[in-house]
Symmetry: C2
Subunit: 418 residues, 2 copies
């Protein structure tokens, strides 16, 4: 079958499935999620076998060891995927929640009620466990999902989709609620984002090229998990020991993720008491510092920062460091180079933290805590499908509630407009 | 100056203005809105003079009397615009509202706080008073706005923008918070929707051609005020007098708007006691009925409905009527032909209304009330910038709250990820 008609058929079936899903109470959804966990554990060997196909193709194609590592599934990761399914089953169901009720002067009773979005297209370039995470969140929130993962993970994603769909069928739910596009053709993305008659939303999570392509060409509204150029500003009233600990954590604990810090801004009045010892910690951890001229004076081994280093998402053991003359300069720098993702201030001054929190236009703004906390689990959303860096719908980490919308339900007794 | 660099400059200035706006308390915004109302009343004569330029061009261009009527501003409409500004000033400010607070096991205090979206591009084909309504809602919610109205209203829109901008300046606020694109070139729309570095959202409100163009080409996320193919289902347990009253109101009170009913679905068991008298009311009001074969038996003067009449947005004194054998058929019809806008059921049966409300996937679903209530003012949102027919961000009428988003504000005392 042609790719276009195949994907259109998938979208039609997803839309039809979504009509069933939106009427479900939580029990059948939770039962299906738990059955998926069971089937996942039972079929570990098959999953690993299919994953090995992806791995050997990846080696042939000359992917980097880091990329191959991201692709690999083992028993530990499969167990984590199954645990994740159980955890999503245990979370509250957002669908049906009444978020507001009021009465109008004419007697109309108005309620706002949470409903699923409908059909979600999820386009991603991540390790195969994201397939299961995303599918479980979509199902729990009453949405059908069409998944287009990275082509390097196709065999793994297909067996996972087969297993999840099988569990849906066993549970009496439509298997078309979770579908993986069985193609490595990049054209599949173009087709999917054109199907605005069937899809309600596209969630895109991947590299800059993918995100740009999707946002520039999609007819379906896009929520994008885009880059995180996160800043920490160490204020003149900071507890410097805390600052070192937080900044170190934000850079080193997992440098390859979007909520790792990329630029450190340091108030000039504490720069000489802070930067030398901070930089020692960094040097011991193998972190490269790219500093402004003031930084260079205090950290002789720092490389000079070039213009392109400000606003760069290194995703690596590299940090840009700038000494600023006041908080205004820090705020201006963040406004100019930030990506509206995550910013933190380290200070003990209440007025100054308040100003920072109010002025910084990012999805998560923190005082005296690591940028690494911009994460649905860490912030208490239960789980996340991604971090939305556009401001519409749900700015920041998206959990179950963020995969829903609301409708107005109105009770009258014959009211008309006059 | 080239159109593209002019619009880019406007967008840059809007972004810069939005940085000031997002920090404002409500008082300066409300003061500016009240000053705008004053200036509007003072400059009535100038506004009417500029409006006359648009009117005479419209006549030369051969616009229909209805379109010319929509374009005309007089003292009554200007007074309504001024009153509207005062009303928006009196509404609560959504910005800064804390929508949730919780503490994490590690001691992090998490709050969700309402913030403005940033810069809004508003593309519309409406009467010039919408310029003032939209600008006031954007300002009150802390957003900068770039307005691209219909080319037939350009002179009117420009004097209104000049006046609003002047009032902003007088109030010490950035006049670039409200800008009208001074061009009738359709290319201006293409340019505006490409500026994803500066704009956070596009709100598009107009005919099908405009909406399709914007959603198909925009790099900026779009909320669309699209068509309303509204249905009323008269159930077998309906109060038939109430049904007649509600259906008549929904069709006749203002047929040219998106929340007017377009298709009437009637349960077969009450069709013969309902349709003949309902159709009398319609005939007296000059409403054309396009009926299914069953309808034709009961209403001999009805025209036969053709396939294209189901799902058609007539925006006129025309209604499609279908007799259905049960509620399932009504629900299937709505699923197939509805536009997710507004649907109503007339019934006294609680179980059946509950089923209708749960299954119908529209932004507003009503029991025993007119579809004409899908309106921000009527539902108690205070005012509206449009009705969003896509499910993302805010499904249905959009008031002040719907022009905001939320960010996470996190307080810690040195927490790091482990």
């Amino acid at each position: 079958m042609q790719l276009i008609s195949m994907i259109e058929d998938m979208a039609k079936q997803a839309k039809s499935a979504s009509r069933q899903l939106r009427r479900l109470e939580r029990e059948p959804k939770d039962d299906a999620l738990r059955l998926m966990a069971t089937r996942l554990m039972e079929r570990q060997a098959d999953i690993i076998k299919e994953n090995k196909k992806d791995l050997s193709k990846a080696k042939e194609a000359g992917l980097t060891p880091a990329m191959i590592d991201r692709l690999a599934l083992d028993e530990t990761i499969i167990k984590e995927m199954a645990d994740g399914l159980e955890e999503v089953a245990a979370l509250p169901d957002p669908v049906g929640e009444v978020t507001g009720t009021w009465k109008r002067p004419n007697g109309l009773l108005v309620r706002k009620v949470r409903i699923p979005l409908g059909v979600i297209g999820f386009i991603y370039e991540s390790r195969p466990n994201v397939t299961v995470d995303a599918a479980s969140l979509c199902l729990k929130s009453g949405n059908a999902v069409i998944l287009k993962g990275g082509s390097e993970a196709l065999s793994s994603n297909l067996i996972l989709a087969d297993l999840l769909g099988g569990a849906l069928k066993e549970s009496g739910l439509p298997p078309e609620a979770i579908q993986v596009i069985p193609s490595t053709d990049r054209e599949a993305v173009s087709i999917l984002i054109g199907l605005d008659d069937f899809l309600d939303i596209i969630i895109a999570r991947g590299g800059e090229g993918l995100i740009r392509f999707v946002t520039n060409h999609s007819k379906v509204p896009v929520l994008k998990h885009y880059k995180g150029v996160c800043h920490i500003y160490v204020d003149k009233f900071a507890d410097l020991e805390m600052a070192k600990n937080v900044v170190f954590n934000a850079k080193v604990q997992r440098p390859g993720v979007c909520n790792a810090v990329e630029t450190l801004l340091v108030h000039k009045s504490i720069a000489d008491s802070f930067l030398p010892s901070m930089s020692e910690l960094f040097r011991d951890a193998g972190v490269e510092i790219r500093g402004c001229p003031e930084t260079a004076k205090l950290v002789p081994w720092a490389k000079p920062a070039f213009k392109g280093d400000w606003g760069e998402e290194f995703l690596d053991l590299i940090i840009a460091v700038k000494v600023v003359s006041d908080m205004r300069e820090a705020l201006d720098h963040i406004e100019k180079y930030g990506s509206n993702h995550t910013e933190a201030i380290i200070t003990n001054d209440h007025e100054r933290s308040g100003r920072f929190l109010a002025e910084v236009d990012s999805s998560v703004v923190l005082v005296n805590a690591s940028t690494r906390f911009n994460d649905g689990n860490q912030l208490g959303l239960g789980a996340e499908i991604g971090i939305n860096t556009s401001k519409i719908h749900a700015f920041g980490p998206m959990g179950l509630e963020e995969l829903t919308t609301t409708k107005f339900v109105v009770h009258g007794d014959g009211q008309v407009r006059t």
